[in-house]
Each structure stands twice: as C-alpha cells, then as structure tokens.
Amino acid sequence: MRYLPLTPADRTRMLGVIGVDSIDDLFADVPAAARLSGPVDLPYHAGELEVERELAGLAALNRPAGAGPFFCGAGAYKHHVPATVDHIIQRSEFLTSYTPYQPEIAQGTLQVLFEFQTQVAALTGMDVANASMYDGSTACAEAVMMAQRVTRRNKSVLSGGVHPHYAAVTQTIAHAEGMDIVRLPVAVDAEADVLAAIDADTACVVVQTPNVFGTVTDVTKIAEAAHAAGALLIVVTTEVVSLGLLKSPGEMGADITVAEGQSIGVGLNFGGPYVGLFAVREKFVRQMPGRLCGETLDAEGRRGFVLTLSTREQHIRREKATSNICTNSGLCALAFSIHMSLLGERGLRDLALLNHSRARQLRAALADVPGFEILTPRFFNEFAIRLPQDAGAPVEALLADGIVAGVPFARLDPGAGLENVLLVTATETTSEADIAAFAEALKGRVSA
C-alpha cells in the first residue's frame, strides 16, 4: 500500500516500544460488540493504474463544457483560467498546508489572504472583506444572519431575482433560526419590487445584480429606502466578472456584499469547490462571520500578517460566535487572487467587456429565432428567453447537435410557473461560430 510507510518489522518494533502485544490491544477501549473482525464488504486496495482507469472511465461519461458550444450559466460560469493559476495552487506549500494558525511559518498563505481581502474589497467597493466563505449561496445566508444580529430585527426581504438555490439555502437556515423570510415573487425585473416590502421590522433587503435572469439593476434607490427604514442592504452577485464593468455594490450603497467568486480562477467543478466572497462596511467588521487576516509587526518590527479578530469565531466564542464556520475555501481564494493579479484592472475590464460583447452577439442571433422572446431588459453576459414551448425539450434536442443550450429556469425553481423560460450565457469562451451554430440549430428544432 503505497501511501503507508510502516513495514511489518516497523510495526512489531513499535508495539514493543509501546509495550503491547498486538494492534488489537490499542483498540481495547472499543466495546467488543462493535469491533469488526476483518475488512468491510468493499473491494481491496488498487494500484494507480487501476484507480485511474476507473475514474477516467467515469469522467469519460460526462460532457465537459469545453467539448462544444456551451451556454449554461445560472450561478456557475465557464471562463478561461490561465495555466499559471493551476500550476501555482498545486505547489506543495499552498496545497498541503493547514489554516495559518502559526503565522511565523505561514506568511505565504497569510499574505495571499491579505491581498485577496484587499482585491475583494476593491472589487465590491466595500471597506473590508473576509478570507472567504464556502460559496456564494452560504455567504448569502450568513449575510442575512449577520443583518439580524446588527439590527436586532427578525424579518428579511428576498427579491424575486435572487438565485433560487441561494434563496433556498437562506430560507433553510432562517427557518431553523426562527427568522422570518419574505421571498417576493419571481420576476425578471424583480429588484424594483422590493421597495414596497421594506418596513420598520425589516432587518435586511437582499437583491441580486445581475439577477438570476441576468437583469442588471442600479440598487441605489433600494439602498436609500432600506437605510431610511433602518435596514441593511445585502447585494448578491453570482457572476463576479460583471464587477469589471458595472458599478460596484459599495458605490450603490450596499452594507454587505456577497458574491460567488468561481468565475475568477476556480473553474466549474460540477458545482464545487467554489469560493464565497463576503465584504462589509467598516462599522460591521466585528459582526462578520469567517476568518480575517490583518497586518501587524514581528518582534523585530518587520511587517507580517496574522489571523485576527478571532474572538468572533467558534474556536473562541463557541456558542456565542458570529458563525460556526471553520474551514473555508482557502485554496480557491488563492486561485481567485492569482487570476485577479494576472488580469489586473485592465484585464478584468477587457474581460468583462468581452463577455458583454459576446452576450450581445448571442442576443442578436437569438432574437431572430421565430417565437423567441428576449425577457431581460439590461444584461451583462446572461439573459432569459421565453420559448414557445417547455424549455427542457429543445435543450435535450440540441444535445444531438453537440450544443448545450442553457439552463431551463424550471430546473432551478420548478414551482415558479416559468417552464418556458431558458437562461443562456455567453462568455469569452463562446466563439462567434458557437453562436452561429446555436442559432442555426434552434431554428431547426423549435417550432413557433
């Protein structure tokens, strides 16, 4: 067994040093009734070749996004990740290190986190960002919990434009907490609807831009209304590349910004691991969940970094902690930070414009398909279409043409009554030929 260094002779010698006769003596505290006499009913060990053969076989049954024209988004986006990113995150010192609790021998990870926090704060237009959350959806739920702590109010308003999975995660946690979630009706231009739902009991308003239908919204007025009522504004972004082009949540008055960082550096990974971004205004720092890295000095006065403000966290505050989160998404935060360093402001802006440009080309091509109605008024790289039929059928049909057409909205939210709505996305990975092939195939497969 190639991962186990001890030899039978080693084991015998070690048992002697310990002063026991057999390995079973070391398991003497296990109740006799629960001791297994031999291996469980599963295959025995296998060599690299055999393991690789089995997993490669499973991988071959999947169709990667890069295999042909591909238009799925809905919270996870196909972007090109530079080769440098994956090379660096596989360095032993990043890949196989633990949470940087011993700062003297973890300055690499800590400086990365400090740079990551600064990048996220700049990108979202907020004062302070943490060292990452699991993903965007759990960050959204944590933001709502945090707003409850800050305002000491119990009701949260969720726009109907929030990604249905994010809404479900938030509702699940809120239900357990005994918190009241008002989820407004699902609609393409739903963000404007939240204004009427804000009242004096509202802890927070959660809006998403671009929202799940791709609609981009200026939330400045919502921020004003929320603040006038003493509530916080939480802005959610699932496509973080959009922040290269669009006004930041901070500029528009957000108190907490949460985002899915997967688009930068991380890749699709069938839904995880991803990286949640979480940023707040300065005055709320001590109510934040998650780890924070801060700058300090060492005993010789040299700059260094440490995890700080830990008294908010579970390992110190226990049942009074701001969250139960411990492990977060460190390596994905590193990937995000490397990719963002490669892009820089100029690269990010160009990338965002390229995404927007491709999506406009896609819109122009699809607007010509008979019976199609483009629903999203203003979009970044994703928009919704109403088809003349259930959106699931053409998606299945186009697979025969080698095209993955998009995400039927009903898969995300079967109860919304939007069976005919299809979400489509174009990114820098979408070629003009992909778009032409998609439009052509649709014309043959969809009957108006």
Partner: protein, 514 residues
C-alpha cells in the same frame, strides 16, 4: 610541481558571527516580498484577450467610471510573486505536521490529477443530466463507500466542510423532531472537550447549549449526562474518538440513554480516521455523523479549505435529508434537486448545486487506492503512530491521560513545564526552529496548556523518530536555556508576531499611503 593558486577557495572560512542581517531584508534565498499593490502594475496585465466590440453603452450609467484599484502583473512576475510567498509556508510535503484534530496526512498526487480530468473539472453543475452520468455515478459510488464504512443507510453529500456537516446534521434532527411534534426540544448537550464548532452550530440553529462534564479519565461523565438528559433535549453532540484522543468506552450506553429520552445522537466524525475500517458508527447507535473528507480521506487542506463534510444518517433521520441527492433507475442516474414533487420530508438545501465534487473525486480515488483492507490499515497505523509518539515522549513530557492507549492522537499537558518559565506556546514556537510545525495547543480546553499531537498514518518510523528526538532534545534543553523557547522562533521567516497590535488597530486591507 606546478602550483595552482588561482580560482576560488573551496572551503568555507570560519564565520565571524552567527548574527547577520542582509542589506535588503532578504534572507538568502528567502525573499522579502512586497504586496502586489506595491508593485506599481496599475496598467499592467498578464492576459491577452481576443479583441472585442468594447462598447457597453447599452448599460448607460450602470457602468462604473471610477478606477477599481486592482493591480496587474505579467505572467513571469505573477509566478515569481507566488512562488516566493509559497516558500514562507510550512507544508505536509516538507515534514511531519502534528496538528491534533486536524489530520495532516499525505495528499496523493494521483487524486489531484484525476480531479483535473475535464470530465470532472470542466463540468457545469446545471449541464443536462444526460451529460453528467459519470459524475452522478461517482457520487453514487462515493455514497456507497461512505455508507458501508459507517453502517449507516443514508448520506447527505452536499455539506461543504465539517462545521457545515454539523449544521446539516442538526437541521436534519430539528426537522425530525418537528415532524414528530417535538419542537419544544430546545437543548443540545455538548461535552466540555468539544470542538468550538459544536456549540457554535447548535446555537446557530437556535438551540440552547448545555455542557456535559468529563470524567477524570477524559471521557463523557455518564452520571452527568443522565442527569441532564430529558425530554427537552433534542440531541447530544459527542466526538468519537474524542478530542482528548480517546475512544468513548461507554458510547453504546450513551446512545441508549440518549434514545431513551427521544433525543438523537450526533457524532462529530472529525476523528473517524482513527477507527475507519475497524469500527462502524452505525453499530454504536449514532444517528448522524459528518465525515471530513479533508481529514479521513485526505483531500488537501489547501491553507484552510476547501473541505467537504458529507453526513451519514440513520434510518430515523434519512427521510429528512436535504436536497439534492442522486437516484437511479433503468434510464440511468438523476438528481433530485427539489423536494416539491418527491415523497420527501427533506429540510431544504445546504448549498447551491450539489456539493464539493472536486473533493468527491479525490476522496473516492483515495478510497479505491486503499480499499477495505487499506482503510483498516490506515486506522491501525494512525493509532500505532500516535501511541508510539506517546510512549517515546512520556518520559520527558506529561501525558494528560497516561493510563491505557490513545487513539490517533497523543495529548500532553503542561505539568512538566511547571517552574521552567516556559509556556506551551514557547515550547511550540521552539519546535519551529527545529523544522517542525507545532502541535495543536491549548485545545482541548479541559486540559491545562494542552499539546495535542496527531502524527497520522503517513509518517514513517524514521520521521517519527526524527520528530520525537527533536522534542526530547528540546525538553532536555528547558533547564538553563529558557531563551531558546521564550524568544522562539529565531529561524523562521519572521519572529513572533504582535497579535495584540493586529487586533487593537485592525488593518484588514492594503491602503495607499495618504
């Protein structure tokens, strides 16, 4: 003879002094590395993008106009920046990493390779189900292995880390109580030695936390448990093996007492690596247990994540598991993503999409590599290594629970440091100078000045001896050489850092000098 007296000297000359500082702040090959924000790359980029119609006028005043403040680096600068930073980190690939309760074991590179196959890494979570059959099959097989190793009938795969798994487990328990009209149960019992995540999770979902006392020999105090169990108790959360590195001998009785009052038994499975293949939690009466794939099944810790925390569930709790889950029929696999149309009492959803697929691939590859026989050997070697360390160090350091074997980790207290002027922290920092990462310190809270050492099964006898020799040498040096400890580390990239300053005047991002 022809006398060759040209060329360089080939022997070192005696050093004038051991204390030496460079003129630049570098320490030989170890560079003093600036922040990316100090490198001046405000108009630089390390990517070449296809030209596009760069017009966003359709978005009007939604477009940002002010600079964002993100520096860029060319590719060579990027590589150099991060490689320089990486060299300031300790890693399991460098030396034994004895963090108790954290399970820093070798991360096989095969698993990294397989997770990067495009069929897994470049797979969209909402790609049509017919295009992801291999991924669903892998999830199904992983679930089968987890259920078989634990003798539990169901597993929720989606939780993203151990604490998230705890959250999933308690939400399942809460849903089960609600379904039985038992919502009045408000209390979760947690031993004093528990991980901080246990009480934090219970409080997060609205439960009141009550502590269970510990016995002199480091186990749950059955009498105290019995006294605190009532029909107001929703669940107990017990780590087994516990955070003192000990197996809870009375665990079957603990489960029986818990079930007798209608409460559920949540087991924190952070230490499952000590018993995998030798004990199945389902045989102990456990109702729910998370499994840290990044501990027991060796997915890399990555400097603090990502992890994965699938939760195995008993028959009683299985119906309340969250979406999504994988089902199969003659047409293949499919995902149940919404519980509306299904005959299910699922409590909701833990995450967007389906969980940590990248970790599932790595963990499954790890399981296949070891097999049923190898996983059993994993537990045996982990326990053997810990007991070996305990035996070798016990003469010099004071074991917190000297009687009987430990499981996968050996716990010491600071009794042996009394009067030396050296604290647990000092001792740990001195280990850094000897090339080792410190052990877990000051946890569990029930042991004074705790030092919790977990070597794991992937350490050779030679590395264990190297480690024990280093600690014994340090222990011997404590008399008369206090500064070796109180000033440590001397040889790390930085000296001890001022955590008070960091907390009093928080600087949580880089800001341009005003």
């Amino acid at each position: 003879m022809s006398l060759n007296n040209v060329g360089r000297p080939t022997r070192p000359t005696p050093a004038a002094s051991t204390a030496h500082t460079s003129l630049t702040g570098a320490r030989g090959l170890l560079q003093d590395e600036a922040l990316i924000f100090e490198m001046g790359g405000w108009d630089k980029t390390g990517v070449d993008l296809a030209p596009a119609d760069l017009d966003a006028s359709d978005l009007g005043d939604l477009v940002r106009t002010a600079p964002i403040g993100l520096p860029g680096l060319s590719e060579p600068e990027t590589v150099r920046h991060y490689v320089r930073l990486s060299q300031k980190n300790h890693a399991i690939d460098l030396a034994l990493y004895p963090l108790g309760s954290c399970t820093m074991k070798h991360n096989p590179r095969l698993n990294e390779k397989l997770a990067r196959l495009p069929g897994f890494a470049d797979l969209h979570p909402m790609s049509p189900v017919s295009t992801v059959q291999g991924a669903l099959a892998l999830m199904d097989r992983l679930a089968h292995w987890l259920k078989t190793m634990t003798a539990m009938p169901a597993v929720a795969l989606s939780p993203k880390a151990g604490a998230h798994g705890e959250l999933c487990g308690l939400l399942t328990i809460k849903a089960a109580h609600e379904a039985k009209g038992q919502s009045h149960r408000r209390i979760v019992l947690v031993p004093t030695s528990a991980h901080g995540t246990n009480p934090a999770t219970a409080a997060f979902v609205g439960y009141d936390v009550a502590e269970i006392a510990q016995t002199e020999d480091g186990r749950v105090d059955l009498a105290d448990l019995e006294a605190k169990l009532s029909t107001d108790v929703a669940a107990i959360m017990v780590t087994n093996p516990n955070t003192c590195g000990l197996f809870e001998r009375d665990i079957i009785e603990i489960a029986r007492l818990t079930h007798a009052v209608g409460a559920y038994f949540y087991c924190d499975g952070a230490n499952f690596n000590a018993i995998v293949g030798r004990v199945r939690p389902g045989d102990l009466g456990v109702d729910a247990m998370h499994i840290n794939l990044h501990k027991t099944f060796s997915t890399p810790h990555g400097g603090g994540g990502p992890g994965a925390g699938p939760v195995v569930l008993s028959e009683a709790l299985a119906p309340f598991a969250p979406a999504p889950w994988v089902v199969s029929d003659s047409k293949g696999f499919r995902l149940v993503e919404d519980t509306v149309d299904e005959a299910s009492a699922g409590f909701g959803r833990m995450v967007a999409f389906h969980g940590q697929m990248g970790m599932f691939v790595r963990a499954y590859a790890y399981m296949l590599s070891h097999g049923a026989d190898g996983l059993r050997q994993v537990a045996e070697d982990a326990v053997l290594n810990a007991n070996y360390v305990k035996a070798r160090l016990s003469g010099a350091m004071s074991a917190a629970f000297p009687d009987g074997p430990c499981m996968h980790e050996a716990l010491f207290d600071d009794h042996w440091l009394e009067g030396s002027g050296i604290t647990t922290l000092d001792f740990a920092k001195a280990m850094i100078d000897e090339g080792f990462h410190p052990m877990t310190m000051y946890f569990p809270l029930v042991v004074h000045g705790a030092m919790l050492i977990e070597p794991t099964e992937t350490e050779s006898l030679q590395e264990l001896d190297r480690f024990c020799d280093a600690l014994l040498a340090l222990a011997a040096a404590r008399a008369g050489d206090v500064e070796r400890f109180t000033g440590a580390p001397y040889l790390a990239p930085l000296k001890r850092l001022d955590e008070t300053l960091a907390a009093r005047k928080p600087k949580l991002r880089w800001l341009a000098e005003a």
